[in-house]
Amino acid sequence: MRALASLLCGFVFGWGLFISGMTRPDKVLGFLDVLAIPSGNWDPSLAVVMAAALAVTGLGYALARRRTPFFESQNQWPTQTAIDRPLVAGSALFGIGWGLVGLCPGPAIENLATLSPPVVVFVVAMAVGMIAYHLWEARGTAPAERALAPAGAVDG
């Protein structure tokens, strides 16, 4: 049931990205191009997508906080709170890559469905970057400890 539930969630998420145009790098870059504001060529759509998503998620999470999930024993809310160096550096690196192409992980993976070769290159490189981080993080750590710390959705 857990797998079926997340299949549905992935499907709804994918439709949300598709309908909103956020699978299109040109549309995302049209938002990130803030220097286009004076000329009237700026596209604020991404801000509307985030505002609508935040409104629904904020209300829904308030409900979710008061109950246990259907197919799990408890909710796995993120526990980290520190605004530390990895958070700042990682966000900056991600932002640079995002600005270069206009794809973040969700739309990148969803666009694999188009079988576009440049998208495949992007997603393979993204996967390599994630594995590289995994190996770099695990340096000097015993394998047993690593197994206890799987790629967690600590934040998301």
Partner: protein
């Protein structure tokens, strides 16, 4: 405001929010694509089944859209494969280092009013805006 599409943006955004809420209500998980995908591909990871089906659902969305008559555009990408690969590496490494991307920090994190996610989102937005300002407006 060229290309501004507020209605489809609001509908799509609401669907993304609905997905995030459902994943928490049903499976107790944050809908962060970075965490879901990384947990699928990294060695030693457990708990792969629900991650895999989420990704299958994500891929099925545009395919089903095409089936019912929508045009699914081929993404416009930069001509240089080196830039594409470099950007992919930065996105993959950066999102793991900061533990989240546009979905995990930008939506799920800010919806929880997490200062950490608000900071992350501000930083990756500003970094991306600077890159676009340079690539589109400097020397061009």
């Amino acid at each position: 405001m060229a290309n501004f599409s507020p209605i489809s943006a609001a509908i799509g955004g609401a669907l993304i929010g609905l997905s995030a809420v459902l994943l928490m209500l049903l499976n107790g998980r944050i809908a962060g694509i970075t965490g879901i995908f990384a947990g699928l591909i990294e060695p030693l990871s457990t708990d792969r089944a629900w991650r895999a089906t989420f990704i299958v659902g994500l891929l099925a969305a545009p395919l089903s859209a095409a089936l019912i008559g929508y045009t699914v555009p081929i993404p416009q990408m930069p001509p240089s494969l080196a830039i594409i690969a470099g950007a992919g590496l930065l996105v993959g490494f950066g999102t793991r280092l900061s533990n989240g991307c546009t979905s995990g920090h930008g939506i799920c994190g800010i919806a929880r009013l997490s200062p950490r996610s608000i900071a992350a989102t501000g930083i990756f937005m500003v970094a991306a805006m600077i890159v676009v300002a340079v690539t589109r407006h400097v020397g061009g």
